[in-house]
């Protein structure tokens, strides 16, 4: 044990001596995550650091830091090693746009009045601070750690769709298994809902519950490489294919999380309305009980009325459990604690759906095809296959190569051509699939608008009838003592509740269809799906640890 400890100490010492010499920068490339603090506000951030680029004798490190939000725009940072002692730091937060920093061991410090800048690094860690003497609340502190994942947030947080879809976006799905989180969430909730429905008397509350859930969270476009495929291949074409495919997966995961978010919001609204309805029914029951006590209603009426409330209570319990399960699944899908990761969701603003124009798939399917990461990926694969075929021909000239032209060459060429044919066919199929998805999404979008109109109109009619009943009540034509009156009043309120749920379902369907549409044409949250991905393959150099002012 002591020997092992001594060996570890020796290794650590040798690491310090070899890698952190005065004036040296450690290898910073990799994926970092951390926090940016501006004043009192803290934001989770992500960045992908490339290797230093060498131009003449100057080394430059350019990287973009993204807040972990779906809609966030990245912020550019640049370190330029001018000589052994000086770094030029560039960032838009600096009043002058740049500052010269002096290297001091593992830190670099400098000022650009009234701002002072300090950057420190050690293996797997980077800290950057910009202090503003005049406006302290503009001071920025960035802490970054080399980490492939996304760290947990404080528990029991109320999160927005931007934050949660952002987490889905910046989760680094290094293996397909990780991407399965979102699918598992989808499947588990579908199971939970399936279990709930036979018991749920308020089927109308759920609207299109039997079908909407799956359609809401299903993937818009297929994954092309369902394996352990994020190896960022060193071959340029294969690397680009992987990159496009990753962006495609990322878009699908984000779309599913967004769909889940809207479903939970819808179910929460329905649950809240249901709770209010039950509370109102209990008030009526109490009033009937009081009427019984004073002798205007036959004894036992309030008790019997309670059976209607009991059925609603059962629905409420089921819906409450479903919402809890959905919260847990959403948290799981976004790498948060399923038990206490999310305590609530921020409501979403929606336009007046009755004034929106219908979606025409012919207006956007071409754009979807042009922007499609799936097609891009196939295109890169085709290029890679062609390169590979050329290699077969040119192997003849490779004197050191072991595979010259021989009896197997023709077969090899045929296989390569067949592979290319397969990719071309797959491209055509994907093109058609995108057109199909555009049509499906447009239909879902338009159905949501029509359903909303219908629900709104039905709700309005029911409210009109309710107002008529209330007018009668207030005129003294009827009273709570009349059983028929109470039955009609509760029936109409129940219908309004159902139509309000339909309205919420239509809004959720519209939001989900809009998310899918954005996913197809890469707009909104889906406009920068390649954010914080590793840059293209670079030649591996032997100098793992870069030195200031060029090679030593």
């Amino acid at each position: 044990m002591i020997k092992k400890f001594a060996l570890t100490k020796l290794l650590a010492l040798s690491f310090v001596l070899t890698s952190c010499r005065d004036g040296d920068l450690p290898k910073l490339s990799g994926r970092y995550q951390g926090m940016m603090t501006i004043g009192n506000s803290k934001t989770q951030i992500i960045t992908q650091m490339p290797d230093f680029k060498k131009e003449r004798k100057v080394r430059t490190l350019n990287f973009i830091i993204y807040p972990a939000m779906a809609s966030a725009v990245g912020e550019n940072y640049s370190f330029k090693l001018l000589d052994k002692e000086t770094i030029e730091f560039k960032n838009a937060r600096l009043n002058n746009g740049s500052a010269l920093l002096k290297l001091d061991n593992n830190c670099a410090n400098g000022a650009s009045e009234p701002q002072t800048v300090a950057i420190c690094w050690e293996e797997g860690k980077l800290t950057l601070s910009i202090k503003d003497a005049l406006i302290p609340e503009k001071s920025v502190l960035i802490n970054l750690n080399l980490d492939n994942g996304l760290s947990q947030l404080e528990s029991n947080k109320i999160l927005s769709v931007d934050e949660l879809v952002g987490r889905a976006k910046f989760n680094n799905y290094t293996v397909a298994q990780e991407s399965e989180r979102v699918f598992q969430a989808q499947k588990n909730i579908a199971v939970a809902r399936g279990n709930l429905l036979p018991k749920l008397n308020l089927k109308s509350l759920i609207g299109l519950a039997t079908g909407d859930y799956l359609s809401a969270v299903e993937t818009v476009l297929p994954f092309l490489f369902p394996g352990n495929w994020y190896r960022w291949d060193t071959s340029k074409e294969l690397y680009q294919a992987e990159r496009s495919s990753f962006a495609s997966l990322r878009g699908n995961e984000m779309s599913m999380v967004e769909g889940l978010y809207y479903i939970i919001l819808r179910d929460q609204l329905v649950l809240e309305r249901l709770k209010k309805h039950i509370m109102w029914m209990k008030q009526i029951q109490e009033s009937i009980r009081q009427s019984e006590n004073v002798g205007t209603v036959v004894k036992g009426t309030a008790e019997y009325f309670g059976t209607s409330i009991a059925n609603l209570e059962k629905d409420k319990l089921n819906l409450e459990v479903l919402v809890k399960i959905q919260f847990a699944q959403l948290a799981h899908a976004t790498n948060l604690s399923p038990i206490n990761g999310i305590s609530g969701l921020v409501p979403v603003l929606t336009p007046d759906l009755s004034s929106l124009e219908v979606a025409d798939p012919s207006a956007f399917y071409k754009e979807a095809q042009e922007k499609s990461y799936e097609l891009k990926s196939l295109d890169y694969l085709l290029k890679a296959a062609k390169t590979s075929q050329k290699e077969i021909y040119f192997n003849f000239f490779d004197l050191e190569g072991s595979s010259g032209i021989g009896f197997g060459t023709r077969s090899q060429i045929l296989v390569s051509k067949s592979q290319q044919e397969e990719i071309i066919k797959k491209s055509e199929e994907t093109e058609s699939l995108i057109e199909l998805q555009a049509s499906v999404v447009a239909n879902e979008y338009n159905l949501a608008l029509d359903s909303y109109q219908l629900a709104k109109s039905n709700k309005k009619l029911s409210e009109k009838r309710l107002n008529w009943l209330i007018s009668r009540l207030l005129q003294g034509d009827d009273s709570i003592d009349s059983e028929e009156f109470v039955n009609e009043l509760t029936d109409i309120q129940y219908k309004i509740l159902g139509f309000a749920a339909d309205e919420a379902t239509s809004t959720q369907m519209w939001l989900t269809a809009k998310a899918k549409l954005n996913r197809l044409v890469l707009k909104g949250f889906y406009s920068d799906l390649e954010a914080a991905l590793p840059e293209g393959p670079v030649k591996k150099s032997n100098d793992e640890h870069l030195s200031v002012g060029g090679d030593k």
Partner: protein, 195 residues
């Protein structure tokens, strides 16, 4: 784009019910409404080829409830508006009676089932602020009703009172009886106020 400016908050939190508890002034006011009921009136029952007149006179005795009983009820399940039911019950003093075709029947108690619409949020003057359903009950010295509390297990009819005068008041400032009827030995006759 203007259309998009009409934003709704999807899934807003709903308003909590805010039922007001009746203030002592409210309860006192409801009792005063009972006290203000006309102590005498004459009605006419129009039959074919014949008008039958009856009149009543009452003197209020001890109230049965120490204060009127109230119950608030929200009008809709997603609203904070409500209306209030109030009930009051007062014994009538000896000498209170209804006279029909010279026959005198003692009236024993008065039962008021009232409705206070002031909290309904509707200020349309066509809607009354108060509605009082007044029962002048004959021959019931216990004043239990209108429903038979043990029905159907204790036999008898669903309602308790076989004879009473009923009318509604929608304007308490003049206490004008409307929708009047008289029930005599379970037979009911619509009536018109004469004076």
């Amino acid at each position: 784009m203007k259309k998009l400016m009409m934003l709704n908050i999807f899934f807003v939190q709903l308003i909590n019910f805010a039922l007001a508890n009746p203030t002592p002034e409210d309860l006192n006011y409801y009792r005063q409404l009972t006290v203000a009921i006309r102590t005498e009136a004459q009605f006419k029952v129009s039959l074919i080829n014949q008008d039958v007149f009856y009149d009543y006179s009452i003197e209020l005795g001890e109230p049965i409830y120490s204060e009127p009983v109230v119950s608030d009820l929200p009008l809709m399940d997603q609203s904070d508006k409500f209306y209030r039911n109030f009930w009051d019950r007062v014994f009538l003093k000896d000498g209170s009676r209804v006279v029909i075709n010279g026959e005198e029947i003692p009236l024993t108690c008065i039962f008021v089932s009232g409705q206070d619409n002031r909290y309904s949020g509707i200020n349309d003057p066509r809607f009354p602020q108060f509605i009082m359903r007044v029962y002048l009950v004959a021959n019931d010295f216990a004043c239990v009703g209108p429903k038979n509390p043990g029905w159907p297990n204790n036999g008898g009819k669903e309602e308790m009172w076989d004879t009473y005068i009923y009318y509604e008041v929608k304007d308490p400032t003049i206490m004008l009886p409307a929708e009047a009827k008289i029930r005599i030995k379970w037979n009911e006759f619509k009536s018109i106020l004469v004076k």
